[in-house]
């Protein structure tokens, strides 16, 4: 699909995530308190939990349903067995979040 402009950085409060759908692809986008943005698959590989509703600390994400943990930078699991898909994400000069899907 290539690079997609998701919306303004202000759409996501610091330390939280929101789910987006772009052309049928559901992604969860996070904005850390450190000001970085990350995009990953929207649903937890364990039982489909909404990752955007998870708890975020640094770049560690905890799924709200059963506490599976992932590292947003790599998608690797910190607790649990499956990794999650990650997408390169950045904030452009106009303050828009851009994700390469």
């Amino acid at each position: 699909m290539g690079e997609v402009t998701i919306g303004p950085l202000s759409a996501i409060p610091p330390g939280e995530g929101r789910s987006f759908v772009a052309d049928g692809e559901k992604i969860a986008v996070f904005c850390t308190r450190g000001g970085k943005v990350f995009a990953v698959q929207a649903e937890c590989p364990h039982r489909g939990g909404p990752l955007a509703d998870g708890l975020l600390g640094g770049t560690t994400l905890i799924c709200p349903l059963h506490g599976w943990k992932f590292d947003l930078t790599t998608g690797n699991p910190l607790m649990g067995e499956c990794a999650i898909k990650t997408f390169p994400a950045r904030v452009d000069e106009t303050g828009q979040i851009v994700v390469d899907i």
Binding site: A11, G15, L55, G57
Partner: protein, 813 residues
């Protein structure tokens, strides 16, 4: 590789054992070993000295290593030569003849010497002991005592500890009338309490010994030889000889002279190395580890192993963590086992005791948080092996305390971890088997927390945590590593709860991000956020600066997340009392938002399940009811029975009280959820006795307040905190307990765990009797929390963050 010089100062039990351990690890290829021993012999078992004195052993029977052993193992022993000096800069030890012995590594194992209490007349003008005065420490002492005792009539032993009693028994065999003179109020006060000491005293008096207690010896009488003793109270005792056995003093002088840190002993780290010199170790009675010195052999064996592992490089991570002191011995034919403390130290310590002085049997156990922390067995020590193991490994004790003291019929069919099948499911929430836990330990996880993190065992309802911990400890063979974070309030901030509260107040930290910035070096930890948010809200009330990202999603959107990512909504229905108008409104909401499931809850409320996040604010607006907080780590609800309203048995207004409770504590954050109930009579229909807090009306206008009940993953009847006369007093004491719990419980610790951990008597003392003088402050905090309450549903509708209630945002591409 060139061998290093290893010099060992001391050829006693510690020095020789350490060398044996080093040799067992191939140390002969790494080191040329030289030992200094101030006795001319090989090394012997000092514990059996009293056996030599009383004639049950010959001298040669107590040798551990004869001189030939040193030759065979190419150890150069300076037999009968004391080491007189240590020069660290030059790395040499000097013998008393002035000859230097260079070392690369040095082990100090100088042991200890008898402590001589200050008394007049102990020594002659030339400094030697007065004829008839002896200490009891070496084979030479044994020989001299035996020689002097010939033809004498009486002897006194100063010191009624273990060694003193053994010496007394030995002296008796020479046909002497022996008196034991003891400073303390009972014998063997390190190992026994007063009751056990008194039974032992009666036992040994039967053997013909005299026991004098609370006698402070101030002078040894006689000009040229011992004639008697004088005591501080002015009384005297005639005696022909005196054996001093009043404790030991570590020999640290050679270390202190070389500038090594010494306190009560030579201070060492967990590798038994002196803290100021990485090439010098100390081991045995002369060493002080974590503030402790030891005078028993078991700790010494453990130290020797660690030292050998480390010095040979066999295991550079080897660490000594201190020893739990337990002994089993026979004093004058009386069997004694003793472990840990001899008296309870905290009001909540549990004491289990059996005493039958006539038969000389006494048993006492001190239990803290279900674990054995001390024990005395006298006369009958048949349970000693089991108890000493439980003490050493800190394993939980069976609920039936009686079987700790006696073998009663068939033991319960409790399967040991050894016998348990590998596929037995331990964690029933996350389906983790015994085999999976063992595999995880074998893969290198050595702490219960690490295993829980890796397998998710114990991370569901949490009720299996104790068993998971025990299996991990068992699988590690007792060598678990403690994760320091178990003592922290939350894993991401390295402070205990009291330390954390102090720091938060001191730095005026009102938001979770501020806590991470000030107290965790700016490093955020996701799992720690909700616990911090809860604590900050408890401490700052309305002043708390809320950051939604610090909250679990439930508390961010004030609804309970379901398995499919939808939410459930439970409006507040105080006391479970509703009305037709309210029910109509709820019914309209159900229709309008196509609520898939409507269910009556266990807390006497109505649950609307399957709502989309996007609809939540609209649902709240249409319901026009406050949040019931059915989602938070907070006060949840207060059930009630009909009480005096219609019930023919009711003796107290339980509905009215439940409604007051709801309005008093609604929205209170707490370490875990709090579910309450009120019952109008002792029939307890609303199950108030198994709630976190409950109030039960009893005849006479009184209310019993229960705390620490549970009927979830754990089941526990609450403890009665106190009995009061009015609704207002129920609110007051419940509030005090809630605030005390909020300030002192670990995050995610339910009240039942908290009450069991602290003990009801401690909590009652603080909350009811105000033993710490904090009751007024607790009341004030509760009032402030109450004043800071805002219904989150109303509040949220006004102050939502961007896209807070959006399930899925579209992207315009």
């Amino acid at each position: 590789m060139k061998k290093q010089n290893l010099v060992v100062i001391g050829n006693g039990m510690a020095g020789a054992r350490t060398v044996e351990e080093i040799l067992a690890r191939g140390g002969a290829h790494q080191f040329d070993i030289t030992m200094f021993g101030d006795e001319p012999t090989g090394n012997y078992n000092r514990i059996l000295l009293s056996g030599v004195l009383n004639g049950s052993y010959q001298e040669e029977e107590i040798y551990l290593n004869p001189l030939s052993w040193y030759v065979e193992n190419k150890i150069f022993l300076h037999a009968g030569k004391r080491a007189s000096g240590l020069l660290r800069r030059a790395k040499v030890v000097f013998g008393e003849d002035g000859r230097p012995e260079p070392y690369d590594k040095l082990i100090i194992a100088t042991g200890s010497r008898p402590y001589i209490p200050p008394m007049e007349g102990t020594t002659m003008p030339d400094g030697s002991y007065k004829p008839g005065v002896f200490v009891f420490r070496s084979l030479d002492d044994c020989r001299e005592i035996a020689e002097y005792a010939k033809g004498k009539k009486s002897a006194a032993v100063i010191g009624g500890g273990l060694l003193g009693l053994e010496a007394a028994r030995g002296l008796q065999n020479f046909g002497l009338q022996v008196s034991v003179v003891h400073l303390a109020g009972h014998l063997m006060q390190v190992q026994l309490d007063r009751a056990a000491g008194n039974i032992l005293k009666a036992d040994i008096e039967m053997l013909g010994l005299k026991v004098l207690l609370e006698k402070n010896s101030t002078a040894i009488l006689g000009r040229d030889q011992v004639l008697g003793l004088r005591f501080a109270d002015g009384s005297t005792l005639e005696t022909d000889m005196v054996v001093i056995s009043a404790g030991i003093k570590p020999n640290w002088e050679i270390a202190a002279g070389a500038g090594l840190t010494t306190e009560r002993g030579i201070v060492v780290d967990d590798q038994m190395r002196c803290i100021d010199d990485r090439d010098i170790y100390a081991v045995g009675e002369c060493a002080q580890h974590r503030g402790q010195t030891y005078g028993l052999v078991a700790p010494l064996w453990e130290q020797a192993k660690v030292l050998a592992d480390h010095i040979t490089g066999k295991n550079p991570q080897a660490a000594y963590h201190g020893s739990k002191v337990a002994t089993k011995l026979k004093v004058m034919g009386v069997e004694v086992a003793s472990m840990g403390i001899v008296e309870p130290e905290y009001p909540e310590d549990e004491v289990v005791q059996f005493s039958e002085p006539k038969r000389g049997t006494y048993k006492k156990l001190i239990i803290r948080e279900g674990r054995l922390v001390g024990g005395i067995l006298l006369g009958d020590i048949s349970k000693a092996a089991y108890l000493m193991q439980a003490f050493d490994r800190n394993t939980p004790l069976p609920e039936e305390r009686l079987q700790l003291l006696f073998d009663i019929g068939d033991p319960p069919k409790q399967v040991t971890f050894e016998e348990m099948n590998l596929d037995t499911q331990i964690c029933n929430c996350n389906g983790v088997s015994k085999g999976a836990l063992i595999a995880c330990v074998e893969s290198g996880k050595r702490s219960p927390k690490a295993v829980m993190d890796a397998t998710r065992a114990g991370m569901g309802c949490g009720s299996c945590k104790t068993m998971v911990r025990e299996i991990v400890e068992w699988a590690c063979g007792g060598n678990t590593e403690e994760d320091p974070s178990v003592h922290y309030y939350v894993p991401g901030v390295p402070l205990t709860k009291p330390e954390l509260i102090r720091a938060i107040r001191e730095y005026n930290l009102k938001s979770v991000s501020a806590v991470f910035d000030y107290l965790a070096g700016g490093k955020e930890d996701a799992a720690s956020k909700p616990g911090l948010a809860s604590l900050l809200k408890t401490l700052w009330h309305a002043e708390y600066e809320d950051e939604p990202d610090a909250r679990f999603i439930n508390e961010r959107v004030h609804a309970n997340i379901q398995k499919d990512g939808t939410f459930s909504v439970v409006p507040q229905i105080p006391g479970g009392i509703t009305s037709s108008a309210q029910l109509r409104r709820i019914a309209d909401v159900v229709d309008k938002y196509h609520v898939p499931l409507v269910k009556l809850t266990g807390g006497q409320r109505i649950d609307l399940l399957g709502l989309k996040k996007d609809d939540l604010p609209k649902v709240w607006r249409d319901l026009d009811m406050p949040s019931g907080y059915a989602y938070g780590k907070s006060y949840r609800t207060c059930k009630s029975c009909v009480g005096t309203e219609f019930c023919r048995f009711g003796v107290g207004d339980s509905i009215g009280l439940a409604m007051k409770i709801e309005h008093q504590f609604q929205g209170f954050d707490s370490p875990h959820k709090m579910k309450l109930a009120t019952a109008g009579c002792p029939r307890n229909c609303s199950e108030a006795m198994v709630k976190d807090l409950g109030a039960v009306a009893v005849e006479g206008g009184k209310w019993e307040i229960y705390i620490g009940g549970a009927a979830g993953s754990s089941v526990r009847k609450g403890d009665i905190l106190t009995v009061v006369n009015s609704h207002e007093d129920v609110l007051k004491y419940m509030g005090r307990f809630i605030q005390y719990y909020r300030e002192n419980a670990k995050y995610l610790e339910r009240t039942h765990g908290f009450v069991e951990r602290l003990g009801i008597s401690k909590i009652r003392a603080v909350v009811v009797e105000d033993s710490e003088g904090i009751a007024e402050r607790l009341d004030r905090e509760i009032a402030e929390s109450k004043a800071g309450y805002k219904d989150p549903w109303k509040d949220m509708v006004r102050s939502a963050t961007p896209n807070q209630f959006s399930t899925l945002l579209p992207v315009i591409s």
